[in-house]
Amino acid sequence: MDETRVGGTALGGASERPIYLETKDLVVGYDGVPLISGVNIQLHAGEILTLIGPNGAGKSTILKSIVGYLESLDGAVYISGRPVNELSAHDLSLELSVMLTERMRTELLTCADIVETGRYPYTGRLGILTDEDRDKVREAMNMVHVWDLRDRDFMQISDGQRQRIMLARAIAQEPHIIMLDEPTNYLDIHYQIELLNVLRRLVRTRDVAVIMSLHELPLARKVSDYVMCIKGDGVVAAGPPEGIFTPEVINELYDLEPGVFDPITGNIQLEEI
């Protein structure tokens, strides 16, 4: 197997699952300048792929290029077997939902209003929700344990709560793929763990595929089926977490001196003073 190709073999029966997301020799960057090249992903239903790497390495750039927020410079992205640039915005919204890091500012919208926008692709001309849509909204909110927040103003809850509302929104959209850009930002450890549990449950029960970027290495190790390491101009390592969270790979990825950080225990060694 190509070292930078992810997916396909590690999970039992994975080969029979449909491939939801595939990239072939994807090159991403800004304004025509390539930043990262040779991104090859093969993500099946029911798998979690996590991108890790130093700040500014381009994890978000890859995510943005996959959904088409950024024009990719070369290579191809396939969503459920179809080239992403041949999908209409509506078709894509049925396949993939997102949770972004940008803080948004809303006015007089309740948390339920926000989650309800996840039903956008399914509602009619005026966007009026049916009872079935409302059930899905409640289901999604229950799954993330935010049902009690439904009548609260979205601007008057904590950052962590907002993050969970946005996850509920992404779930209510009922896509095949959920893409999360640093979903654990603003969350304390309790909610970080809870969020990852929700993702796991989602993946197992609904056969959703998840692609995300994470900073917290111990969390990434626990939750991911596959990990892709981004550094410099490309993918430096990829594969199941057991192969990635070794001192060699992690030290190389983050430019750490040997022995400073143990990727398995999360133990760190500070300089002697």
Binding site: V67, G68, Y69, S88, A89, H90, D91, L92, S93, L94, L96, S97, V98, L100, E102, M104, R105, T106, E107, L108, L109, T110, A112, D113, I114, T117, G118, Y120, P121, T123, R125, L126, G127, I128, R134, R138, W147, R150, D151, M155, Q173
Partner: protein
């Protein structure tokens, strides 16, 4: 457990639904009351029984009949339609720029329309032609689009809400100054009339104007209403809207064209009118307790109609027989609302 939450959902939604119903009922009552006042009050006061006789067609000969039918009724309809159009234009611009104090007047779009209309008037009337209503709307539309393009160029380069507004105000000043030059050096009697129009007024509107105005305003307002769904997605930001299936490019163009057309129509018939576009959507959102476009759009239209009827009543009756410009009145009531928005935002930031 399941039962309890069923009740909860029903409860929360029915409370909100009741609030929306109450607000719309109140708007309907206000609209009727203000329409009646606008018809009755003036240099010639018409008692309500007489008004009913005139409207029901029993009285078709009195002076009152003449005043109501040929002056007050068209003026009333114009104020209501154009007020609604202004409020919607404001709401669209606030959505587009994600800026609560964006509006057609403050961003210089109304003034852009004014400048091109003045220019056209001088060229056309100067060559002894007559400016038709259609030409007025088209030149106002061109003018507002030109100003809009400038605002868009500025908004690409700066990311600050307040700087965008400052840039808009400057564009407005430039256009107004240029219009003043044109007016000063124009001598023709027709062009002197420009001066009244350029200050903003609903006076002098006749039934001929009402026809085309109704068509343009109603059609574009319906188009805005049918954009409720993508607008609600856009309220979460462009990237989320895209991920929900909104064709952002088409949507942006639609917003620009519709807000410019609505603002242009107002300017073509009544000159530039300030603050309605900012104050009305804001008050309506507070009253409804939500910014959901599906209810805010019709609410803002009726709110704009009511606000302009109210302001027009004041403009023509407080210092009667002298008329105050409509913009002066809308500013007196609208500007404090804008200040309160700014104060509230500052408080929320802390």
């Amino acid at each position: 457990m399941q039962k309890q939450s069923d009740i909860d959902v029903g409860f929360g939604r029915s409370v909100r639904r009741r609030r929306v119903t109450i607000v719309f009922a109140a708007l309907a009552v206000l609209l009727v009351v203000l329409a009646t006042l606008n018809l009755c009050i003036g240099s010639l006061n018409v008692p309500i029984p007489d008004l009913l006789a005139i409207l029901s067609g029993q009285d078709t000969t009195s002076t009152n009949y003449q005043v109501i039918w040929s002056i007050r009724l068209p003026r009333l309809i114009a104020a209501a339609l154009l007020g609604g159009a202004l409020a919607l234009a404001g709401f669209l611009l606030q959505t587009f720029f994600n800026n609560p104090i964006a509006g057609p007047f403050i961003l210089g779009i109304s003034s852009g329309a004014k400048l091109v209309v003045a220019l056209m008037m001088i060229v056309v009337v100067g060559s002894s032609g007559v400016m038709t209503n259609g030409m007025m709307i088209i030149s106002a539309f061109v003018g507002s689009l030109i100003a809009m393009v400038f605002v868009l160029l500025v908004s690409r380069r700066i990311n600050s809400m307040s700087m965008l507004i400052v840039a808009g105000v400057m564009i407005g000043y430039i256009c107004s100054a240029a219009t003043d030059f044109l007016i000063t050096f124009a001598s023709d009697a027709n062009i002197v009339n420009l001066k009244n129009w350029s200050l903003g007024s609903f006076s002098g509107i006749n039934w001929g104007d009402i026809g085309i105005m109704t068509v343009v305003v109603i059609l574009s307002s319906l188009a805005v209403f049918f954009l409720s769904k993508p607008i609600s997605a856009f309220q979460l930001g462009e990237q989320y809207a895209k991920s929900m299936g909104v064709n952002i490019r088409v949507f942006r163009v639609a917003l620009i064209l519709l807000s410019s057309l609505l603002a242009a129509t107002v300017t073509a018939f009544a000159g530039p009118i300030s603050f309605v576009g900012i104050a009305v959507p804001h008050v309506i959102k507070r009253a409804l307790g939500t910014s959901k476009p599906l209810v805010v759009i019709p609410g803002a239209f009726f709110g704009g109609a009511i606000f302009c009827l109210f302001c027009d009543l004041i403009a023509r009756s407080v210092f009667a027989p002298t008329e105050v410009s409509i913009s002066a009145v809308t500013a007196i009531f609208g500007a404090p609302i804008v200040i309160s928005i700014l104060l509230k935002r500052e408080k929320a930031r802390r």
